[in-house]
């Protein structure tokens, strides 16, 4: 069990890294892209917008203190 926990912790650290907000923004934007593209509306612009939003918020959050 502890090995599983160690593996899960490693994977979390490996994928999510320092700021979970970035991973969350990416996943939300991908879901939004899939939903809008699925409705037949052009959705290519959503992820670039997510890049700007995610990076800006993460930078300002981490330098706020």
């Amino acid at each position: 069990m502890s090995r599983l926990r160690t593996l899960a912790a490693f994977l979390y650290d490996f994928v999510v890294g320092d700021d979970p907000l970035i991973a969350a923004v990416v996943l939300v934007m991908l879901a939004l892209t899939a939903a809008i593209a699925g409705a037949g509306v052009p959705a290519w612009w959503i992820l670039p917008l997510g890049v700007v939003a995610g990076l800006s918020i993460s930078l300002y959050r981490s330098t706020r203190a």
Partner: protein, 255 residues
């Protein structure tokens, strides 16, 4: 022009585009995380790719490529944004150059100082390289199978793809030496830009979006990511400059 010539040119060009993407990622991983990990990642991906092609053959087109693009794109985008974030924080002085990457950087520097490749495998370099080569390799395999079977000449399509791969690999080896002279922090920033751009492209395609201009959109995404991160870098430097002297402990590191 004969249909065979057209088939060769079409497969060659399409495979070269995919090959450039794969080689860019392997170069980025090799230059920043060590060549051993990047090349082992590329090698393992090539073996996995060969096994998939051998087992599936023409049934390859049934693989859920969009799901693969979505997963790989999401991971590359998360990795890329983390790298960009750290690079901007370092460049603006908010983060010291030697942080959680210090051990890896020290080992890399020590090995490089005596002209030796780093020992062991770096998981990050391996994974990035592996995913890039496997995904792009699968796309080349799809191109070969679809173009080749449409024209009833798969061997010629395979030959065109191999010629493109050879050309792109030779070009990659040629640019490796000049790239290795670029400062490490600048390379990390460049890798962040590339991973973010490719991750955005693949992630959106995997989620069902279509890019205006097709593969050429990657160039626009690289430019977009560069401009965005540069502007954020300027904003962070100004923010750091406004800090009281007692808080501004770490000097800006070169980009």
């Amino acid at each position: 022009m004969s249909s065979d010539s057209l088939l060769f040119i079409a497969v060659f060009l399409a495979s070269a585009v995919e090959g450039v993407e794969a080689v860019t990622i392997v170069l980025a991983a090799g230059l920043t995380r060590g060549w051993r990990s990047a090349l082992v990642g590329a090698g393992v991906a090539s073996v996995a790719l060969a096994a998939i092609v051998a087992v599936l053959g023409p049934a390859l087109t049934a693989l859920p490529i969009d799901i693969l693009r979505l997963v790989v794109g999401a991971l590359l985008l998360i990795f890329g944004l983390q790298w960009l974030r750290k690079s901007i924080l370092r460049a603006s002085g908010f983060k010291a150059l030697h942080d959680e990457d210090a051990i890896f950087a020290a080992e890399l520097a020590a090995d490089r100082a005596i002209g030796r490749e780093p020992r062991g495998i770096d998981g990050y370099g391996f994974t990035v390289s592996f995913k890039g080569v496997l995904l792009e390799g699968l796309e080349v395999a799809f191109i070969v199978v679809t173009f080749g079977s449409n024209q009833h000449n798969i061997p010629l399509a395979v030959l065109a793809a191999l010629a493109a791969a050879l050309l792109v690999i030779v070009a990659g080896v040629a640019v490796r030496a000049p790239l290795s002279r670029v400062p490490e922090n600048t390379l990390k920033y460049a890798v962040g830009v590339m991973l973010t751009a490719y991750g955005t492209f693949w992630g959106a395609e995997g989620a069902g979006a279509h890019w205006p201009g097709g593969d050429a959109a990657i160039l626009a995404l690289i430019a977009f990511t560069l401009v965005t991160s540069a502007l954020l870098g300027v904003a962070m430097r100004r923010r750091h400059a406004r800090l009281p002297a007692s808080f501004a402990t770490s000097p800006p590191t070169p980009q």
